[in-house]
Chain length 511, copies 2
């Protein structure tokens, strides 16, 4: 190819060093920026030409557009004043790992296409599984002598891009297993439209999305996603186990085939903790696949004092949490383990001739292509490996504990202010709170005042919170608007949370 079109290594070194420095400057200075931007739809696109350049542009022009075009339209997820949704942790070690992955540019779809990509991932996922207290049956290489799954199942960990994909993978594995278990596909086939899955009404939207993608739930003709049965929650917003058991047994009596349950350890709305010790035996006795979605809260289990959240995990078939949320490993990095790798592979394996190789056929190697939705895969294990080695277990525990401590402070401040109330039990670092109803005020007025407060907070640019609705009181209670203060940003310290509370309580004077 004509030489001039590629950057020279010398140019790359200079530009690369400059980009590293830009990132260091950005992250060190990000707290001074307005957390959310003030652009309207179309503003950013309008700064870009309608057509690509015919000839390559100068790097001066390209880099200048980072500040001119990109920055005005960025919501600063890395700001210590970002408290919206759930955090998206980045860290310097993870950035270095991601950079190395981009430099190597390997496709780890199979063991044979870069053995190190697969084997480092397998080993590091075993590390991480032990760090959060998973039973050895979830690991690729359980310790000798460990009591591994009674039924001869093999487990293992894999990095998915997102928790959504982990849920979808678990769903299709569960479907593959129930279809296999029913003896012949024929007997089951006529009933497949009767496959039923369950989650609480507080479960993440990805559960219904997975059902839509997998084609579960639009077959009965009586409405959308009727095959995703939503179970009510108790006053703590955790799934009611008795209602789950009854729903399964009733459906089975009616000829349906309940096959899959998603329990949530740390719901998106309020980080409510579904009780695995209650749900697990219900699923196990009835032969349903239990997937545990701990996307945000799972990281807390690095600390032994938070592992109560996983009490009963030995009954689960798969488990997932996102190091990219609260464990300093840049997006995308969703850790998933299963006790039953065979069902995952059964659901997802493809073996075209052009990918055949001796290592795959020997059975001695893992081909992660068959553990995930896509075929190709980046070497995401590098960033996770770097994070675990740089921080060490104790460093990550200290990180989690500090966020827990300052979340406790924020909760105290809310409780001490009689204008506010805490709207849900706090399990980890998310505080759901709202302005209390005034005497005589109807619920919609309270909601409106809280909505206005949220808008006022975010309009300052000094903090960013998001919201949800919760059935306060549990069961069939009406949905009420609450503010979500999600603490867990990589750079968030006590002073940022203190400043946010000062801002919120000040604005509440007018709310």
């Amino acid at each position: 190819m004509p030489a001039p079109i590629h950057l020279s290594p010398l140019q790359f070194r200079a530009l690369g060093h400059g980009m590293i420095d830009w990132i260091a400057d950005y992250l060190e200075g990000v707290e001074a920026r307005s957390v959310s931007p003030s652009v309207r739809p179309g503003d950013i696109a309008a700064m870009l030409p309608a057509d690509p350049p015919a000839r390559g542009e100068d790097w001066g022009a390209i880099l200048a557009d980072i500040d001119r075009v990109v920055m005005p339209g960025i919501t600063h997820w890395q700001s210590p004043n970002f408290f919206g949704y759930f955090p998206a942790n980045g860290s310097y070690p993870a950035i270095l790992g991601d950079l190395l992955s981009a430099g190597l540019g390997v496709n780890g779809m199979m063991w044979a296409t870069s053995p190190a990509a697969t084997e480092i991932e397998t080993r590091v996922m075993d590390w991480l599984g032990r760090m959060v207290g998973l039973p050895e049956s979830f690991l690729s290489e359980p310790r000798e002598g460990a009591k591994v799954a009674e039924s001869g199942l093999r487990g293992g960990g894999v990095i998915q891009a997102t928790a959504s994909e982990a849920t979808l993978v678990a769903l299709v594995a569960a479907r593959a297993r129930i279809m296999r278990a029913s003896g012949t596909r024929e007997r089951l086939d006529e009933k497949e439209s009767n496959l039923l899955m369950y989650a609480s009404n507080q479960a993440h939207s990805s559960v219904v999305k997975a059902a839509k993608i997998a084609g579960i739930g639009e077959k009965t003709g009586t409405g959308e996603h009727r095959c995703v049965r939503q179970i009510d929650v108790d006053a703590d917003f955790a799934m009611n186990p008795e209602q789950l058991a009854t729903a399964i047994d009733t459906a089975r009596d009616q000829g349906h085939i309940p096959f899959f349950v998603v329990a949530t350890v740390g719901t998106t709305g309020s980080t409510a903790i579904d009780r695995l010790d209650k749900l697990g035996p219900i699923c196990r006795e009835r032969n349903l696949w239990l997937h545990v979605d701990a996307a945000m809260a799972g990281a807390a289990c690095i600390c032994p004092e938070h592992r109560w959240m996983l009490h009963g995990i030995e009954h689960a078939d798969s488990f997932s949490f996102n190091p990219h949320k609260w464990m300093l490993t840049n997006f995308d990095c969703a850790a998933m383990w299963t006790r039953d790798r065979a069902s995952v592979i059964d659901a997802l394996a493809i073996a075209p001739e052009y990918l055949r190789n001796p290592a795959s056929e020997s059975g001695a190697a893992i081909d992660y292509r068959d553990w995930q939705i896509p075929l190709g895969r980046r070497m995401r294990a590098l960033k996770l490996w770097f994070v675990l080695r740089h921080y060490g277990v104790e460093g990550l525990q200290a990180y989690i504990r500090e966020h827990m401590r300052i979340a406790g402070l924020f909760e105290e401040w809310v409780r001490a202010d009689e204008r506010f109330e805490v709207a849900a039990p706090r399990s980890i670092t998310l505080i759901c709170f709202r302005l209390r109803p005034r005497p005589g005020e109807i619920a919609e007025q309270t909601d409106a005042r809280n909505k206005a407060l949220l808008g006022a907070i975010n309009a300052t640019g000094r903090a960013f919170l998001s919201h949800t609705v919760l059935p306060i009181g549990g069961g069939d209670s009406p949905q009420r608007f609450v503010l979500r203060m999600a603490i867990g940003g990589a750079r968030t310290q006590e002073r940022h949370v203190r400043a946010a509370w000062s801002l919120i309580s000040g604005l509440a004077h007018n709310a």
Copy 2:
């Protein structure tokens, strides 16, 4: 959090500059390395401890393990001597874009969560769509006056992680559309097990995988994936259009519901080009969704002289190709366009309260979460933007043309050597070839000699090729083993291809 556990910005600058330099050194020197490693399953894992470190490790130890642990297990996809599978292009501009994305650490799941992430992607995907000659109806902002889809459909582009996901997204969108088009879901529901989809027997394995995930094809009880109908190919390994038309009409007469066709522009086996101008009208007249998978070959359409491959694209409903294969944009970057965004969104949209925001509800903004399988998303547009701006259209055309030129040379050398034969028409830069059958030799012996030759080539470490089987002669012909020489590595130049041929033809003396 305790200060010492985070890297200081100063440390990050030093480590980051070092990592940039490591990558520059690696890429400049990669051609001297053995392309594929010689490790056995377990060798790499054995170099790692069974447990994570309790305390953070020194960066000296971490970085030393790149050379000690990682490199012995790497297949060097960035080597100019890598000719296996399809290439995985990396480039310095793309690495810089990916690095910036990691540094910003934003989640572009919705417009509101970082407007620039969405709007730059939308604009750059319009650029790229025009570059490969897509009709304006596939773009988010078609030119004023352009004849856009007759039926009031809106199009648009989106970056998926992989072509596999693009196929799955197209499949579920097609299913959503046929279910909507049939009037009521109820009327269709009872027949959903009769949904049928079509691709040639040379289509990528991700078509069957998408069907498995989506739950299409395991419901009839007469075998796996019976609902994915494989259409025979002609002698050029392209789908036989008449057979497709007949298959659809016959199935419809029998009460089935044909709904989805995947045409492949550049099959994985031999880069055969399914004829869109023939297949398109068949699908359009019969109201089937036509998805075009041009994962590898699509990049060639940046050059006008190769756009014949997309002749008839105006009949398609969706189209995808991978800039991460042959357009210098690091994995993952799969470009996808649809003429019918409403069906995609219908299939994938979820709108939980905790993600509601005014921009989404105004309809003025794109929320790409509803165009993809996962919820979260990295800002992948940056690397694509950097690549298009650094190289410019003409630079990328020159890049493609140079690979086309040297692929032509390789083909000539094979044709000039009477021991060999070219086993498939060459559409772009993949040459399928094999040792000719010897007089009196049975086909299995020819296959065995070719297999042995491939093994001998790859064992040298001086080149890496992969293989496939092809029904030479088309139709029901038996599958014969062929070597695949896939040219298109970012650093591959004439001298590398020349050296590979010299190696191959030398080893053929003993084959």
